[in-house]
């Protein structure tokens, strides 16, 4: 049985089973159950403060959960330091505020983790970095510093930085919400390309409904620390079931 079980676990990139989390007395995640298949692309949306960031930050253990299980690539997260370092190599993350390292050039930002974590030789890491900079269409910025780039460029660098580690899973936490409108599309284009290429499991917290419709396999709607609704994009947008979802959708379409 255990072998069949492991086999089944392997088909999932991420499993969350009765996940609960508190900040002090505040119950921020309530019984989250979510299975994400390998290669699946999921969009998470919901009102501010509903716990979207917290959920995806639990996946790479930037936040600790108190109850329930999270199983990533067949490994249950225990908080063990060595296991975490191993897990995080395969889970990339892009943040709302990019979090590039301002004291390092773009190229050094990209090669840092491959060199220090994956122990890849410098020349090889740089070649890979240039390849991904080309993918995100800014190879000419390699020797600049993050402070010299626009927000959209910085976020594309951040995506390339994650890709350099060759992750199996990518987590995005509102990657476009700190950007000026004209820069949002340049970042979304890169993400769409990445999604359509396939092969990588993607979890994306975003309110870009166009992006969700175009690439998501499933849309998850959260409110007050709970998963309220989960459906294919088509059904989710055209035929929302819960009242909360309908209200939320009417609000984001209204503005």
């Amino acid at each position: 049985m255990s072998e069949a079980n492991t086999q089944a676990q392997q088909d999932y990139a991420i499993r969350m089973i009765n996940l609960n989390k508190w900040y002090g007395d505040f119950h921020v995640l309530k019984n989250i159950n979510l299975d994400v298949a390998q290669g699946e692309r999921i969009v998470i949306c919901g009102p501010s403060g509903s716990g979207k960031s917290t959920v995806i930050r639990c996946i790479n253990h930037l936040e600790e959960h108190q109850k329930g299980q999270i199983i990533v690539n067949g490994d249950e997260i225990t908080g063990d330091v060595k296991q975490l370092e191993r897990l995080r190599r395969d889970v990339g993350m892009c943040f709302q505020h990019f979090n590039l390292f301002p004291h390092l050039s773009i190229l050094d930002n990209l090669t840092l983790a491959p060199i220090w974590v994956r122990k890849i030789p410098k020349a090889e890491a740089e070649a890979t970095a240039m390849k991904y900079l080309e993918r995100v269409k800014i190879p000419d910025q390699a020797n600049k510093y993050p402070g010299q780039l626009s927000g959209g460029q910085q976020q594309r660098v951040a995506i390339a930085r994650s890709l350099c580690m060759n992750p199996k899973i990518m987590l995005f936490d509102e990657p476009t919400s700190a950007l000026d409108p004209e820069m949002i599309s340049e970042v979304l284009d890169v993400m769409v390309e990445l999604a359509e290429e396939g092969g990588m499991t993607m979890l994306c917290v975003t309110h870009e409904m166009g992006f969700a419709k175009q690439v998501a396999d499933r849309v998850i709607f959260m409110d007050a620390g709970q998963i309220i609704e989960e459906n294919t994009p088509n059904e989710f947008f055209n035929n929302p079931q819960s009242e909360r979802t309908q209200l939320f959708l009417s609000q984001i379409i209204a503005h």
């Binding site: 191993r86 995080r88 993350m93 505020h97 390292f101």
Partner: protein, 369 residues
């Protein structure tokens, strides 16, 4: 409706230099109060500067064999007095025949340090580690001797500027890493590490350096088993290092607190360990932010080394004050000695300050967020 009919060309920025008269008028004579202050300032400079220059340079005696040559009508500063005792000023009671040994150590240190300032020098980290971890032993063997055929020169004979520099360099080189560890410890999530760091820092910050030196020199031997002879200089140095590391720790902690949490999260989210995140991401940024504070601490440390004179170590100041001051052949030139000591200290402190400014400029990568 309006549509522009031409694209404007780029023009050079207007020049800020509007001439000396404009500058004077704007900065020195802009209001009645400023005019009064300006003239008062000029008057003070006029009263103080010419006599000072007269004394220190024009009327000064630069070379003299005896004290008498410095005395007499219209004679100014007697620099010859410093010159005649230069060996002691520099090396204390170190045997003159062996001056080459500290000299060699100094030259070696300078030669080793130069490559660190060369932009594209590879393997800088190894060189730095060599200077910090291996060079001190080489220097010790050279200066102290007692092995490899070098005659032994005990630390009680070290003195002068050499001793001041040794204490300062060792103090800085050891207090910085220790301070960084303490700062990280104080921000650690492990309660024991955190408490130990806090207690350590607050203890050493709470006692005056003089007390520390006294304890190290007078009280510590009482607790050590009888007969164990622990070098006085070493004891003083350990005291200074522990004392200064507490200050360094607090300066560094200020820098650590200014680094956004997202930097650490981004680093560990890529699989970097705690230590790698600290050394590759957090500390380079934090240390850069606190360069002014660190240099401030180092300058204070450099000047505080003069306190070792109270436990009878003959640093630059004590040599000048005590040894030269009581030399019957050269009585009465105390002022020259102190001016000279002040000048030497000023040169070193000012260089440190200039270097820190240059370093800040060099490391500026144009942060925006």
């Amino acid at each position: 409706m309006y549509v522009t009919d031409k694209i404007l060309p780029e023009l050079p920025a207007p020049s800020n230099a509007k001439g000396l008269v404009y500058w004077l008028k704007n900065n020195l004579f802009s209001s009645p109060l400023n005019i009064v202050i300006t003239f008062l300032g000029f008057y003070l400079v006029y009263k103080i500067l010419p006599p000072a220059i007269q004394w220190a340079f024009i009327d000064a005696t630069w070379v003299a064999e005896t004290r008498e040559e410095c005395l007499g009508e219209g004679k100014g500063a007697c620099w010859a007095y410093i010159g005649n005792r230069f060996g002691q000023v520099m090396y204390g009671f170190y045997p003159p025949a062996e001056y080459w040994r500290p000299n060699l150590a100094g030259i070696l240190l300078i030669l080793l340090t130069i490559p660190l300032f060369i932009e594209k020098m590879p393997k800088k980290v190894w060189l730095g580690a060599f200077i910090l971890l291996v060079f001190p032993f080489i220097a010790y063997v050279l200066i102290h001797g007692g092995m490899l055929g070098l005659s032994e020169v005990g630390t009680d004979r070290w003195g002068g500027l050499m001793l001041t520099l040794i204490i300062s360099l060792v103090g800085i080189a050891a207090a910085l890493p220790l301070g960084i560890i303490l700062a990280l410890g104080r921000r650690s999530e492990m309660p024991i590490v955190k408490s130990i760091s806090i207690i350590f820092i607050e203890f050493w910050r709470g006692v005056p350096l003089i007390t520390v030196l006294f304890m190290a020199s007078v009280m510590l031997p009482l607790f050590l088993p009888a007969g164990s002879d622990f070098d006085k200089l070493a004891r003083a140095m350990i005291g200074i290092i522990l004392f200064q590391s507490a200050y360094v720790a607090e300066v560094v902690r200020g820098g650590l607190q200014a680094i956004p949490k997202g930097q650490y999260e981004a680093a560990v989210a890529m699989g970097l360990s705690y230590w790698k995140s600290m050394f590759l991401i957090i500390l380079p940024q934090a240390l850069k932010l606190v360069i002014p504070g660190l240099v401030n601490t180092f300058i204070a440390l450099f000047k505080d080394t003069t306190l070792v004179l109270i436990i009878g170590l003959f640093d630059l100041l004590l040599i000048i004050e005590n040894v030269l001051g009581s030399d019957a052949a050269w009585l009465g030139f105390f002022t020259e000695g102190l001016v000279f000591a002040a000048f030497v200290f000023w040169i070193f402190c000012f260089s440190m300050s200039r270097y820190s400014m240059a370093l800040e400029r060099k490391l500026d990568t144009g942060h925006r967020s």
